[in-house]
Amino acid sequence: MFKSLAPPEYLATIDREKCIRCKRCIQNCGWGVYSWGGDKILIDTFKCVKCLRCYHYCPEEAIEIKDNPTKFKQNAYWSFNNIRNIKKQAETGGIPLTGMGSDMPYPILFDNLLIDACQVTNPSIDPVREPMELRTYLGKKPSNIKVEKTKDGKLKLSEPMPPQIKLDLPIIFSPMSYGSISLNAQKVLATAAKASGIVMNTGEGGLHEDLFPYKGNIIVQVASGRFGVNPEYLNAGVAVEIKIGQGAKPGIGGHLPGEKIPLEVARTRMIPVGTDAISPAPQHDIYSIEDLRQLIYAIKETTNYKPVSVKIAAVHNVAAIASGVVRAGADIVYIDGFRGGTGAAPSIIRDHLGIPIEHALAAVDDRLRQEGIRNEASIIAAGGIRSSADVAKAIALGADAVGIGTAALITMGCTTCGKCYTGNCSWGITTQRPELTARLDPEVYAERLTNLIRAWSHELKEILGALGINSIESLRGNRERLRGVGLDSFTLDILGVKPAGR
């Protein structure tokens, strides 16, 4: 065994004078950085991922996690990660994995878009005094409706509407499977979804019976591994999602190692304990858009026509793909941008494949309008939504709602350390180790996540009020109320947004 030549990224340090040897850090670190040396805490800093669990739980504030100041020689071309990955690959011959969304410094379009506000010619509206509506319905809408009058002069709908998913605000929780995250983390999502009047998505891991009470706030997912899928599962939620791709790893499948498959996960996924759960790259019964159509209708037949969502990764040709998906019968198109999170993906894929959600969303919304089928499906935009401002910008670009995953995990303690694939998450989120998952109290963290959603809903109302509109549908696709700063004319053209000053 030779010592790795890839230097540690972080230096976990303990102030020996402050340390009272309570050993809480040993207990808290999921990655085994600390151990007991008989008279003091020993530190294996190579293992540290800077999740900051120990820092928060040290009662004496004795711990500091520093970025390793010893870097390779500064080089504007050969980044630290380039060199480090090469060294690691030379040592192992493997594919470096990563978790969360890409942290590469590609331009962030959301940060180059600014929202309008009212002055004089149109009054702004005070959300504290006036109603401000965020309610959103997901699902296919007819292009027009027919209304009759009954004998007693009341209005009546001639034909019923297609089924809709009601959201109290245009946010849903992105799919994260039981297996990739802990059951407690899923319970947090389910409880907060119910309390906030929105929905969560099971991801491809089946539906654990503990979540049955939340069925009215759950979308169940079917993906290439078909884990946990049976008619009861398909009918369990308010809608079914077919996952074709994921923004963080477009075009590749998933691999949940056997270590993350204890009994409960195995039962829910309907696979043997300890076997690797492999989701193939494509769904082996979907090799074309016609195949997708068959699966969509097979699911609709099974569920008495619940809405079907199709999740695709934002790739270069996303507009044409989305159009095909809508024509294949999807009621919702879920577009996941390249910044979208993941439990595990090869870094090379996560950091170099796909396109940002802003471009993809704008292109899809435009294309569906050009083809006159925008009403046929709702658009959910996801992949890097960080704040209510991102939500507002995505809605203005054309999304009906957004999906948030990482932001939800951050309320549970996640610090986006990106090491979810190890299964050691100290916060009990992306792990199945019982001693770690036990620390994620669903009740406590559901309240925090509900707080976040409430805070964002207040912020969204403030934004609408400043815009002088009192309903979210007047922001949806209203790119007139966005301006670009520092964007080239091509990009502005793709976004359908004017530059600031125009």
């Binding site: 409706i145 209304v147 009954t150 925008r374 815009l467 549908e473 007047s474 949806r476 053209d493």
Partner: protein, 358 residues
């Protein structure tokens, strides 16, 4: 879909009246009412629309067209001759007005589409709408500003009295009138930009700014409308055309889509109505007119006044005998009807719908 447009913003005053008994009322009445609201305009645009003014040509579409120069007129007329039977062509009568030294050429045509030009089961009205869209978006320097039957719009750059004088409004008699004075806040100077805005026999005058313009525009574009004027008013007119003429919604139901009740009110209705109102909002969310506005829209059977959902622009209504009046200010009504039987301020989002008697 061009997004790189500059939207037109303006404040304004409006007034309108309707005789339910189809009594034809002189244009001088509406002029008097409009001219009272001097501080609601800045002399950069005014206009009038009247119904029942062309009884002798009531079966023909009356195209009012403005031209920048004769060559454009020739090409438009060639197009009209190829597609329409033209009953009559005449210049729109005008008076010389000192304050209006220059004006576009103003010509009106009484026409009907040639049957053989209608494709398949195409409606006559669709054909006319296509003509209006085509001329207004494709032919530079020509603009059809009125295209209904037995009605007409008259508008231009000037203050209300000058425009009335210029178009000899006092010489017309109509059973519905709407009028508008304008306070544009950006580059003015184009006659077509004044109100009323019309399409077929819809005419719209509008006060306010539609903050949902961007999505209303994109929504209409999905249905083939070409928005050339970049005004809120144009959006309102096309939405009415889409919802009422093309989708077959009744006027009250269309009003419920354009200024829909709040969810908290919808949720309290009984099951049937709740279902209708919910479906309307789900389906027509992109047609919701959001932001401050009051609108009067005239059509061949009546006049409708409507406010935004929280009434951010004024609208007053009054009744005397067979006439209903609606205006931005009560004084504009009292200027021509000093003692109305009833005066009221319509509530936010609740339309005032007046129909002509048969």
């Amino acid at each position: 879909m061009n997004h790189n447009y500059q939207k037109d913003i303006s404040g304004c005053g409006l007034t309108g009246l309707i005789s339910r008994k189809r009594r034809r009322i002189s244009g001088s009445e509406i002029v008097k009412s409009l001219c009272l609201m001097t501080d609601r305009g800045n002399g950069l645009g005014a206009g009038y629309a009247a119904y029942g003014i062309y009884p002798e040509f009531k079966d023909f579409y009356a195209f009012h067209i403005m031209y920048d120069e004769p060559s454009v007129k020739r090409s438009v007329e060639e197009y009209l001759k190829a597609n329409y039977h033209i009953e009559k062509i005449e210049e729109i009568p005008t008076r010389a007005v000192k304050a209006i030294p220059i004006s576009p050429m103003l010509v009106r045509y009484f026409v009907s589409p040639l049957k053989e030009k209608l494709s398949g089961d195409q409606q006559e009205t669709d054909f006319v709408v296509n003509t209006v869209m085509k001329v207004n978006s494709e032919i530079d320097g020509a603009y059809i500003f009125s295209s209904g039957k037995n009605m007409g719009a008259f508008k231009g750059v000037g203050n209300p009295s000058e425009i009335a004088e210029f178009f000899r409004i006092d010489e017309y008699e109509g059973y519905i009138w709407t009028a508008h004075t304008r306070f544009p806040t950006n580059t003015p100077g184009w006659w077509g930009g004044a109100h009323p805005f019309t399409l077929l026999d819809w005419s719209i005058v509008h006060n306010g700014e539609i903050s949902s313009y961007g999505i209303n525009k994109r929504y209409l574009e999905m249905y083939g409308y070409k928005l050339t004027l970049l005004t809120d008013t144009e959006v309102a007119a096309y939405l009415l055309d889409l919802l009422i003429r093309r989708h077959g919604l009744s006027i009250p139901v269309a009003c419920l889509a354009l200024a829909s009740p709040f969810w908290k009110n919808i949720d309290q209705r009984d099951a049937g109505e709740k279902e209708v109102l919910t479906a309307l909002r789900q389906t027509y969310g992109s047609a919701l007119l959001n932001g401050p506005f009051s609108i009067l829209f005239g059509h061949s059977n009546g006049l409708v006044g409507i406010n935004d959902r929280i009434k951010l622009r004024p609208l007053v209504a009054a009744v005397k005998d067979d006439v209903t009046y609606m205006a931005s200010e009560e004084s504009a009504i009292r200027a021509i009807c000093p003692q109305p039987e009833k005066v009221w301020a319509p509530r936010a989002g609740e339309p005032v719908i007046v129909n002509l008697e048969d």
